[in-house]
Subunit: 476 residues, 2 copies
Amino acid sequence: MAGKYYNLDNMLKPKSVAIIGASQSPGKVGHIIMQNYLNVGYDGELYPVNVGAEGLILGKKSYKSVLDIKKPLDLAVIAIPAKFVPQALEECGKAKVKSVIIVSSGFSEVGDSGLQEQIVSIAKKYSLPVLGPNCLGVMDLRSRVDTMFLPTFKIDKPSIGGVSFASQSGAVGSTVLDMISHENFGLSKFISYGNAAVVDEVDILNYLGHDPDTKVIIFYIEGVRRGKEFVEVAKEVTRLKPVIMIKGGITPAGSSAAHSHTASLAGSYAAYEAVFEQYGFIQAKSLDDMLYFAKIFETQPLSTKKRIAIITNGGGVGVLAADSLYLNGLQMAEISDDAKKELRKVMPPIVNMSMPMDMAGDADDKRFGAAMEVFSKDPNVDALMVISLFQTPGADSRVAAMIIKYGSEGKKPIVVVSPGGNYAEVHNNMMESSGVPVYPSPEDAAKALAALVKYSEYRERMGSLNAEDKNIKKSK
Amino acid sequence: MAGKYYNLDNMLKPKSVAIIGASQSPGKVGHIIMQNYLNVGYDGELYPVNVGAEGLILGKKSYKSVLDIKKPLDLAVIAIPAKFVPQALEECGKAKVKSVIIVSSGFSEVGDSGLQEQIVSIAKKYSLPVLGPNCLGVMDLRSRVDTMFLPTFKIDKPSIGGVSFASQSGAVGSTVLDMISHENFGLSKFISYGNAAVVDEVDILNYLGHDPDTKVIIFYIEGVRRGKEFVEVAKEVTRLKPVIMIKGGITPAGSSAAHSHTASLAGSYAAYEAVFEQYGFIQAKSLDDMLYFAKIFETQPLSTKKRIAIITNGGGVGVLAADSLYLNGLQMAEISDDAKKELRKVMPPIVNMSMPMDMAGDADDKRFGAAMEVFSKDPNVDALMVISLFQTPGADSRVAAMIIKYGSEGKKPIVVVSPGGNYAEVHNNMMESSGVPVYPSPEDAAKALAALVKYSEYRERMGSLNAEDKNIKKSK
């Protein structure tokens, strides 16, 4: 890892943590953070710190200051009112704490840049990586670290996986975490970085770019301060792994809102868009798109080719899918004579041998299986869009199982379209938990496929598209 | 109702129905249709018809032909193989059946236009309104009619409400029905019309346009045959109620797919778009948008004004919302001095008096209530976007209840943004069941608001925007 950027290992994989502001009172932020560390089974050393401390806090011996601990500390989490933060940070420096997360708010986002400047100068003095202030901190499911001070019952916890998520906004962060588990893909690391007083988007991009547990990065940013460094790191990272960006404040209205939110100078979106485009970022225009893109990149192989076979058990949705491919710059594959011959053995006469391949409302696992078998092998087909309407008579768990069989092969990108209610959702969860990305509409699926192809083309231009990216069985 | 178009009352509110192809065998389409009539509690007369019939079918006396019934028949549903349909239809004509639904497929959509022409000429001979062939038929929750031959456990049944849905495609139809109940809005009538051999989109638009139980119409079409009549009816209907259109086959790829699907000539999209625009249709570009638009039109009042107050408990999502308003041609409202004074009484100092109104992560029902109370009355605010992130510490069922209080007032349009997983969904269902439209992202909510404003402007231009459209408590 380049030495000029902060290494965040001590924050994300700490062996010892001090919680400054830890408390016995259930409502306090410092209490919730302590409790979260205990709940997720963190197995390092945990030291509650509270100036008014006496005896135990949540069963752990407490300290009045980090200076009293006198043990090596990888991380201190500061959760006390803003005005007391500089002194606490100073003590962390003196105690040789290796990294600090300040979750407290009340700094430049409320106009108090003086207080924030104190933080910055103390951090510099001790060369201390400081995350925040005004942030939720971090979550790493593998190292069982969770500094978030949110009620756990309100947020579905994602499973362990390959997507890391960095967010300038804490609220976007916690909401997206909740959405991630809803979309059934796996999380590696979550970093909420708030005002970015010390550790900023450049450090985070660099760190996640080199993190072996991170396959895909998703990023909510409102502004970038170190433009030159950002581009330098981006060039290195995006040729290695997909980085999906959503930028808040792309309009005059949003930009002024962003300024009062995290004191970001959002800058001209045209400038950002040009940078994103040039350096291979995948741009999402909404939170939904960000997640829909992450899903396909986590589970499916890359492909620069764009001839898509559409397999459907509903004609009308096939028509919408054909429209969607076209509108997203993709092509509908043609069915070769060999493929037709193979398919005719299984499909009833009512099924036309044309694309989109409408297998009729009574299509069952045999028809789905035959079509996926043929198109998975057909050299004229580069990727598959499988539309499985679970409202139809033939579609059931066997169809889902068949889709999983081919959708997790990793030879060609496969996306599934399955809109609907409860019965559909049971099957969508089945498929997604097995690594097959499912979308609520052909439009969403086509957009995700188009993002995959576009990014693959970038990698090809950069000379970093390897055989294993195009034909792999990715692990979940 | 204009006499030149088919009246579909006999199909949707029949007092007596013959099921041609009714069967004792559970797998058969004619069995499922019979069973559905019985399941939904249809209280008219039901006559199973089967050429090979002996004795009872599902407990009802069966007949070999409709000619043997010798009672008045409002509707016959034909569910037998295509080649036998002309004879059965001829018998319906002779028996003076008042309307016919042909669910069988195997006509022009598989290239057999000869068979379809026979249907058309028999229908003409007897002036018989015939729906289909190649369709799912109709559903009317109020009259307890359901001719769909789909397994009921696969489709969540919508509640009774004001949205009617017509679909050329059966698969789009059943999938959207399932999605409707997922989105928690109420259905009036569903009409799947397939190949449109006799009754077509013009008849259906005219019928639903004059149906007192239909407040909002959503329409999936692949093609329109009678352009002049379509425009004539559209002019009359869209000035009375919102008609949301999604058109399959808007691209060369989709258009050729549509042709092989329901034998539609999809035509140039530019031409359609111009017609849709001129005659006040609301255009949806995806199934999601179609439903998201239906939700706001069913529950919220119309408004030609576009100054939107954003209330949020998460700064970053507020920034994205500000961007979304701008991108959709809407404006962010300004907070008047009076409003600031009122709000300051409730909001803590950390809350900036600027728009979007970020009430902070610990905002509770009191803060939400105060903001909605102030902006509901503020003459500088035309509509509200309320962002309620249920992942945050302050948001719970009391916040949802407060949103329901103001969101169902019907004085100004209100949209809610609430993304997330299980905990959020419980509250989203609460709010939607009480008539408050909820969206998964600010982008979706802004698009829906923009569609509402655009349609309201059309109504104003047409001189049909009445006070009660702008300020009503709509019944669910």
